[in-house]
Amino acid sequence: MILLQVIVSGLLMGSVYALFSSGLTLIWGMMNVVNFAHGDFVMLAMYVAFFAFTLLKVGPLLFVPLAAALLFMLGVVVYLGLVRHVVRGPPLAQILGTFGLALVLRYAAFWAFTANFVSLPDNLVGGTFDIGGLRIEASRLLGGVLALVITIGMHLILTRTALGSRLLAVSEDRSAAMLMGIRPDRMQAIAWGFGAASTGIAGALIALFFYISPTVGESLALVAFVVVCLGGFGSVPGALIAGLAIGVIEALSGYLIGAVYKDVLVYSLFLIVLWVRPRGLMGTS
């Protein structure tokens, strides 16, 4: 029973991992750019949730969409102001571009919010459910389920809508997309917007049950990289499965071996998979 409990909480966390990792994989898939600031986007979204609650006195019903909207805008601005220019440069410029952004965001957060840990009150989404003997905190249940729904929604947008088809067209063949009348810059800005909005939602959800600090994005970014590598670069369904798997592995190893070792286990597994299958578990090309 305890084991099942651990697995369920792993799945709920993994679903949030899947959500923000989908954003990273979308940006990668669109333009072969790694967003090293992805974890810091999550961190910003957590602070958006925190300040929306403490200053504006609004709950998750409002601060989750607010964080999504703000991060969407941040993603668009980062693409238009930075990424669009550095992608024309050598590969190192691309890496340093978003890496530099990560540092700027992180130290701006230190300066603005101080290094102190803060958190939202536990009872914001109150209570614990008892489902057939499984005890699940309402905040984690909300986070996990909502993240799952949005990740699947993102996949449906990419595969079933005209917008998704245009986004994919740009990633497949930029010139051919232009021949269709598609403006690649606009599509890439939208992809960055979506990618960042996914961190917005995920960050606001994580803030419901996790402490917030300027460096909290660091470990989350690592999770996202692991998930994207395992799931295959550019694949949202891959990110979903890998995200859930990482959530469960983390939870199980935390329970069986001890919380201190769970990160080590996840990354060892990651290295082994990369060694055996460099394209990722579900990667195609």
Binding site: S165, E172, D173, A176, A177, L179, M180, G181, I182
Partner: protein, 239 residues
Amino acid sequence: MSLLSVRNLSVRYGDLVGVSDVSLEVPEGGVVALLGSNGAGKTTTLNAIAGLVPTAGGSVTWQGADITGRPAFAVVGLGLALSPEGWRLFVQQTVEQNLRLGATVLADRKRLPVLLDRVFTLFPRLAERRRQRAGTLSGGERQMLAMGRALMSDPKLLMLDEPSLGLAPAVVETMYETLGRLRGEGLTLLLAEQAVELALEVADYAYVLQTGRTVLDGTAAKLADDEDVRRIYLGLETE
């Protein structure tokens, strides 16, 4: 007045010359062929008109307006569509998705089903393969899809880069029948071809490119009959 006129076009790829001096006119309702051997500059010319490659000199005029240097996504909206060399299909997407992408610039979205029907009538094979990924199509089907996709923007002028390249003779035959049908519907065509005889059959006017210049032009009938032209410029056996 010509629908499209290109004057003294030049295009460079870094230090390399793509074309150095190309001039041509495409009258409304006409079918114009752009002939020339490997590397003569046919693709470069079409790509420059479509806005895929920047021009180094000369001008492109569309319905009296100068459109030189406009980006490709703006050009297609004006009514010039290109079915490019190598087809450039979105191979991960379905046949229907490719066709719908072709209709991106369509102002009147209600026309989309009508245009889709037209393409499926022209190419029944595409209707059968509608939900299949473009990457699974045969060469002939890919050519049909590239052409159908270009038609989905409801262009006034359809530019085709080597519609016969790499296709089986029977497929080429049907392809050219389709071109005949399209011209019957009043569509203006500009086609680049190495398959000279076929092109001269369907075209009413032709330009011959040699190392990046238009060296010769005339009605298709005149070019097809002139022995010297056939031998020297078109590389055809004289009877």
